[in-house]
Each structure stands twice: as C-alpha cells, then as structure tokens.
Symmetry: C2
Subunit: 196 residues, 2 copies
C-alpha cells in the first residue's frame, strides 16, 4: 500500500494534468493516454486514479464547481455584511461568467460536461441537485411575484450568456449589458422605476 | 467523375448516418469509422464527402440549423397573418427548445457543437452571424426601452433553458413557466399590468 502523502500528491499531479488538457483541447479530447503524457506518468498510473473517461469527466466537473464556489464565496465576502440582494446576485453571476482566462478555461470544461450529460443524463445527477439548490437561493433574493420561475429564467440567462461568451457570440460588455438589463427589469418592481 | 444523382444520394446517406450517430452518442463520439459503419460504406467513402471531423461537425450543425429554421417557419405560418409579437416570439422559442424527441436529438448536436467551438472558436463564424441576426429580429419584436440588451438576454435565457432541458435539470413545464414569466416581465410595460 503506497504512503498517503504519495497517493495525494500523485492524484493532484494527474488531476492538474487532466484539467490542463481539458481546458486546452476540450473535455471530449481527454483520454487516459493524453492525460498520462501531460502528467509525465504511465497510462496505467492514470488508470489507477481514474478508471474510466466518465470518472475523469466527473472529476473535472467537480473541480470546476469547487473553484466556482470558492470564487463566489470570496467575491461575496468582499461586499461586506448584508449586501443588497441585487448586488449579491450580480456579483455572483459576474464571478461565474467566463470573463477571465481562468473562468473561461473552467467554463469550457463545464460546457463540455453539459454536452456530455445531454447524451448520458445519468452522469448529471449531482449537477441537477446543484441547479435546484441554486434556483432556490436566487429565488430567495428576488423581489415580487413568481420568484421561482423568474429565478429559473435568470439562471438560464446566465448559463446562456456563458455559452455565448465562450463561443465569442457576445463580447463581454454586451453580455454584461444584457445581465444588467435583466436585473433592472426584475428589480424595477420594488420601487426603483426602470429609467429605460 | 460519378454521376450527379449518385453523388447526392450518397452524400445524403452518409449525412443521415452522421446525424444518427451524433444524436445517439454525442457529436464528440463521431468519427469517420463510426459514420462509415452506420452508413454501411467504407471509411474512404465517408472521407470523400467529409475530409475531417471538423467538416463533419460543421455539416451536422448546418443540418440542425436548417431543420430548426424549417420548424420555426412552419410554426409561425400557422399563426396566421400578423401575429402579435409576443405570440410570435413564444412560438419561435417553444419550437426551438428541445421539447420533442426530434428537437432533443438536434439540441444534443447543437450543444456538442457549442462545446466544440468553445475550444476552436474559428469553427463558429457562421453561428455567430446567426446569433447576431436573431438578436436583431427579437429586438424588433420587443416593446419598451433597451431592446437590444433585452433581446440578447432573452436569447441567452432560451439557450440556457435548452441546456437545462437537455441535461434534465428542468422538466418541460418548469422551463416553459420560466419562459412565460420572462415574456410577462418584458411585455408588462406595454400596458398589460403584470398580474403577478
């Protein structure tokens, strides 16, 4: 049985190589062989930690989710105590959207994973629970009626903006303008009139 | 030089096989060999029509776009002359969203292509022009101020709902409720109050 520290180091080494390959060439290009070459280890070694491509993809997606969560937590912490709901939502979405090189690399992995789970829905169980939880959280921050539906729509809008940003369909400023216009519409009813 | 009718028939045969493989296993699983087996022809024959995987993917996406356009045109034609803008938009979006087996299969191909172009943006040139044209069309149907931003947001919302539907994150009725809530919000300012 290998020493624990060895085990953890190797797994991290291989996981980093996996994420580099995924961010550079797309998750669908990831293979045991690719990752082994990138990490400078044997295919057998990679297979010891990730038995299948499914396991590698699920792991990469989990890494992206953890990184996103850490970025969001950090960005929100900088807003001080009890930030206004609209500012909180905007900060969260801007942090998740692929607007920096770092979040673009993660966004490409997430999009590839979404495409993968569209064909193999059983791989998306954890992701679906996340979406449901996030919808509830966003709904709790929205004013006015039909919060659940509006939250679902707002999350979908963010997901779609991410897809369009990654494909270069919208430049960053247009995506942010669309997000702000949406927040204006949703928060207009609380009293602040939509200046238009 | 082969006869023209032969040429067209073969290309259609291979294209159909390509679309079946893409819808069943995902576009990233598409290879010359896979498509050849599915079509019952040689790999060399497939390569005669599609030289690279890039060409196959671009072709599959073009087929999906054409099918979508045909479905939308047909659905809108059934609305009669000069349908109200809101009904026109809703009909268009409901037709494009992956809510039937047919549109789900096409949606999976489109999502895989989007994931592919996130890594190779040069492949998305045609798609970007489409998005820009569609944004302008949607903007022309929206009431109130900031139409361009709202149209960009509405399209992103539809794209995101499509992604969530394909991954089984939202059931059909929740996706439609989110779409209707968004249309209610955007069209509320024209005079019809948002009943909430």
């Amino acid at each position: 049985m290998p020493k624990k520290v060895d085990h953890h180091e190797r797994r991290t080494l291989i996981a980093d190589a996996l994420m580099r390959v995924a961010a550079r060439q797309g998750l669908e290009a990831v293979s045991l062989r690719h990752v082994a070459t990138e990490a400078g280890v044997s295919s057998g070694m990679v297979q010891h930690y990730f038995r299948t491509k499914d396991e590698m993809m699920a792991f990469a997606m989990a890494v992206v989710r953890e990184r996103n969560q850490a970025r969001v937590t950090e960005a929100i912490a900088q807003l001080g105590e009890e930030p206004p709901p609209r500012l909180l939502l905007r900060t969260m979405f801007v942090t998740i959207l692929p607007l920096t090189e770092e979040s673009r690399a993660d966004g490409r992995v997430a999009l590839a994973f979404l495409a993968y789970t569209a064909v193999r829905p059983e791989a998306a169980t954890g992701l679906r629970a996340d979406t449901r939880e996030l919808t509830g959280f966003v709904a709790s921050l929205l004013p006015g009626p039909r919060r659940q539906e509006r939250a679902a729509g707002l999350l979908a809008l963010m997901e779609g903006l991410g897809v369009y940003l990654l494909g270069g369909h919208y430049p960053a400023e247009e995506a942010l303008a669309a997000l702000d216009a949406q927040l204006d519409v949703l928060f207009a009813e609380t009293g602040a009139a939509d200046a238009g």
